[in-house]
């Protein structure tokens, strides 16, 4: 939660700095974001590789657990395709790339900015922040109307950290492990899917 706040603060500070033309001189000569992204991806890979908990979870819970992240992926892409088709505001590829953020707004918006455009990067940032906020607000209602898995799929990748408390409170403690696993799987998939969608 604290990190989400910092992330947004850094972003807003950047917007204010940029808007006020108060830009460090070294930024005008070089754009370090490409290399910062490379470093970030290497680090993300290391943290995934160093974490054995997801493998242990699959062993203990069985493959049935994989159905939940699969439902999130299929549902998100279907829903995004529907609204892109209805509004025509974006291309299918752009819509799917934003959707493939699955609430992981920091990493997805960074990759989309680098691979596509700053404008779509902003859309990805806002859309995935909104996804997290809606989940936080509506998780209790989702459980009552659509079942205990609904807030987990709605949370996307955030079901392992920022939205885990509300999911545990709404769906019940026995769903915390499903939420955790779901978040881990999607967190690993976000950079891969976003990159693949924008490059294939």
């Amino acid at each position: 939660m604290k990190n989400s706040l910092y992330i947004l603060l850094f972003f807003v500070a950047g917007v204010l700095f940029g808007y006020g033309q108060w830009i460090p001189a070294w930024l005008n000569d070089t754009d370090p974001s490409k290399y910062a992204l490379y470093l970030l991806m290497l680090l993300v890979g290391i943290s995934i590789g160093a974490d054995k908990s997801s493998l242990l979870l699959i062993k203990s819970q069985g493959l049935r657990l994989l159905l939940v992240p699969l439902a999130t992926i299929i549902g998100t892409f279907a829903g995004v395709l529907l609204v892109v088709g209805l509004t025509g505001s974006l291309s299918i590829r752009e819509g799917l790339a934003v959707g493939a953020g699955f609430g992981y707004y920091s990493l997805s918006s960074i990759i989309i900015t680098q691979l596509h455009s700053e404008a779509l990067g902003v859309v990805a940032l806002l859309s995935n922040v909104i996804r997290e906020i809606i989940t936080l607000l509506l998780a209790p209602i989702m459980v009552v109307t659509l079942g205990r898995l609904a807030p987990i799929t709605s949370a996307g990748a955030t079901s392992m950290d920022t939205t885990l408390p509300i999911i545990t409170a709404s769906s019940g403690k026995e769903y915390a492990i499903i939420a955790l696993f779901h978040g881990i799987i999607l967190t690993v998939l976000v950079p891969m899917l976003v990159t693949l969608i924008l490059t294939i």
């Binding site: 500070a13 930024l27 829903g79 990759i111 859309v123 709605s154």
Partner: protein, 96 residues
């Protein structure tokens, strides 16, 4: 942009090798947060200095909201289907 995926997979192998060195892994994970802070600060600057994007923020926000609703809507419907077919049934079969 295959570099991104290659770096990530390379990182996974490195991570697997150094997974027992908890302190090192912790430091690297802190570095992740700082890289994210830096990159989003830079994204903010790029947006703030770009008048076209600043003017379009409202439209971009609306597009973002529509995509969020589509993504969440599809996800919770799938969750409902999965719950009805798989998870809830399993629970009732336990009770039998």
């Amino acid at each position: 942009m295959a570099e991104i995926l290659i770096l990530m997979f390379g990182g996974m192998i490195i991570g697997h090798v150094i997974s027992s060195r908890k302190k090192l892994v912790n430091v690297l994970e802190k570095l992740i947060m700082w890289s994210i802070f830096l990159l989003l600060f830079l994204l903010g600057i790029a947006i703030g200095r770009n008048p076209e994007i600043m003017q379009a923020l409202g439209t971009l926000g609306l597009t973002a909201m529509i995509l969020s609703l589509g993504g969440i809507g599809g996800s919770v419907i799938m969750a409902y289907v999965l719950w009805r077919i798989f998870f809830r049934e399993k629970k009732s079969s336990h009770e039998e």
